[in-house]
Amino acid sequence: MTATRRPYKRWHWLVYLLLVIASVFFLIPAYLVIITSLKEPASINLSTTWQLPERWYWQSFAEAWTAFAPKLRNSFTLTFFATIISALMGSMNGYVLSKWRFRGANIVFPIMLFGMFIPYQSILIPLFQFMRSIGLYGSIAGLILTHVVYGLPITTLIFRNYYAEIPDEMLDAGKIDGAGFFGLYSRVLFPLSLPGFVVVIIWQFTQIWNEFLFAVTLTRTDSQPITVALAQLAGGEAVKWNLPMAGAILAALPTLLVYILLGRFFIRGLLAGSVKG
């Protein structure tokens, strides 16, 4: 396909120029974060914002790490369990909705799907009361439950669309062999699900790691995930900027690594979010 496309040499330099300008726009904040995080607090000065540090100063990362290590651990626990549970449930839902279509499935599915678009403010007060009444307010378990439930629409959607691509004939063969509901899932569908799981897990991991509204309403200091801790640290007025910047890097690193290493799957999750994919 590349060979057939005619390159328009005359304009190519302009295309590259524009792309480089755009890249600078996208990378400028990254540059600024990195250099600020490596400056000595005393030398951080609004007028020398753009200059490289005179001497590399790694202490901010050590400090940020001390402050954030427990929060990072909270985020990992939260993200790990919420991602796995919502992915497994989504896989089962997707299997039912694509291969065991029942009457009314066309109504049930959009009703489930709507849950991923709602502004969560509209359920926040009852959710808060509910968590308090079952004793999970302020705990990571409560936050996990919340993320599992509100993650179900998107995981169900991705798996449903993924399983819809798998021909029914493959299941028919299994049925002839006498496999039932679970047999078909474990022997036919699940072994083929790996790419689907990768997409869903990456998506959920990124979403839950980055989430803020539930985290800020449902946790206490000791169960805070990293996003809440970072917002608090940076939100203070008399703040030296090296620390929030180092903290921002620590908070961004896990999802950024996943994106760089598994970008292809990340983009697939991204496009799946627009419903039809």
């Binding site: 709602i118 991204l270 496009l271």
Partner: protein
């Protein structure tokens, strides 16, 4: 009969999710809706009581929000959301489409550029907000960039500026709303004429006339407020729009790029053979084909921007009055001021706005799926 038992198993396996979503989404929305119709939290003592005595007050809270004296902040927040959504979507679509077209030119290093444009999507809005807060410091960051080439520094106070443009009077809201609806109906009519769907032309044309007449007569009579109240676009939002576009335009780029790649090379070649310039190939052949993507992107971005919360929280703080939106106001009203009924009412307004965008979208995209 084994198949039948399997069918029941299938339903049973779906049931936990249905129950959870039923409670957590629809049950909770119902509860919020009910709360918004009460007076819970109007009186601080009642808000914090263990067993508060809550009275049903109907739509009183909503009426206050839209026409009450003290809730002027909510109305400005609605205006803020409107302008934010408008400029955010325009920015993301423009930049996203531009980048997608550039990347579609068969260039070397496409993968690297794509990675650069999309990486902000992997970040939390909190990280983005923290970083841009630093970039937009009044005496640093972007404002001192001109000094690097020997110019004067900028003086603009990105996040706290009190300047407001595009101002209008809240009393004129019915008039402007009518005008907007009339324009949309007119647009429906014009597209229907082009497609020669005469019944639709009739309906749209008639509604257009009706709305126009009302806009210029009845709308002037509606009195929302007894006094003029000026609202407009807070310039303090420009920085937030900039950061939001920085974060989300890669997403529109990815959507458009997937669409552009779907346009076959044969079709492009055919247009070129017919003598179309490269510019015309895009304008006349490719862009009409990616039109549906623009609509999906607008809806996805629109519902994100109506709900925007974390980014502003991290960039400007929850209390910064000039960069407030209903999503933030709901949080403050509920969890700091303990005015639960009012918080619930703001949340319901937010939900209705999002639903108005999302439900038609879900409906049409799932219907077209069934057709396939």
């Amino acid at each position: 009969m084994k198949l039948n038992r399997d069918r029941i198993t299938a339903l049973l396996m779906l049931l936990p999710s249905l129950i959870l979503l039923g409670i957590f989404v629809y049950g909770f929305i119902g509860q919020t809706a009910y709360t918004s119709l009460t007076d819970w939290g109007r009186d601080p003592a009642q808000a914090l009581a263990l067993h508060p005595e809550i009275r049903f007050t109907g739509f009183e809270t909503y009426k206050e929000l839209f026409t009450g004296l003290i809730d002027v902040r909510f109305r400005q927040d609605l205006v803020n959301t409107f302008f934010f959504t408008l400029f955010f979507i325009a920015g993301c679509l423009g930049l996203g489409l531009g980048l997608a077209i550039l990347l579609d030119q068969n260039i070397v290093g496409e993968g690297i550029f794509r990675t650069i444009f999309l990486f902000p999507m992997a970040l939390s809005f909190i990280v983005t907000g923290t970083v841009w807060r630093w970039l937009l410091q009044p005496r640093g960051g972007i404002n001192v960039l001109p000094t690097l080439v020997g110019l004067e520094p900028l003086e603009f106070r990105w996040l706290t500026s009190r300047r407001q443009i595009l101002q209008f009077n809240w009393q004129d809201l019915p008039f402007f709303t009518g005008l907007l609806i009339a324009i949309i109906l007119l647009w429906f009519m014009v597209t229907a004429i082009r497609k020669s769907k005469w019944r639709r032309v009739g309906v749209a044309g008639f509604s257009f006339l009706l709305v126009t007449v009302w806009t210029f007569t009845g709308a002037r009579q509606v009195e929302l407020l007894p006094y003029p109240e000026i609202h407009g676009f807070n310039l303090a939002f420009m920085g937030i729009i900039l950061a939001a576009v920085w974060q989300m335009s890669g997403y529109t780029m990815a959507l458009y790029l997937a669409g552009l790649r779907g346009v076959s090379e044969g079709l492009r070649e055919a247009a070129r053979v017919d003598g179309a310039s490269e510019w015309q190939v895009y304008r006349l052949v490719i862009l009409p084909l990616v039109q549906p993507i623009t609509l999906s992107a607008m809806i996805i971005l629109g519902h994100i921007s109506l709900k925007i919360f974390d980014l502003i929280f991290a960039m400007a703080g929850a209390d910064n009055a000039t960069t407030d939106v209903p999503a933030l106001l709901m949080y403050l009203t509920t969890f700091r001021a303990n005015q639960f009924a009012k918080g619930a009412a703001i949340a319901m307004v937010l939900l209705i706005m999002v639903a108005a965008v999302i439900i038609p979208y879900l409906w049409s995209s799932l219907r077209s799926e069934v057709k396939q």
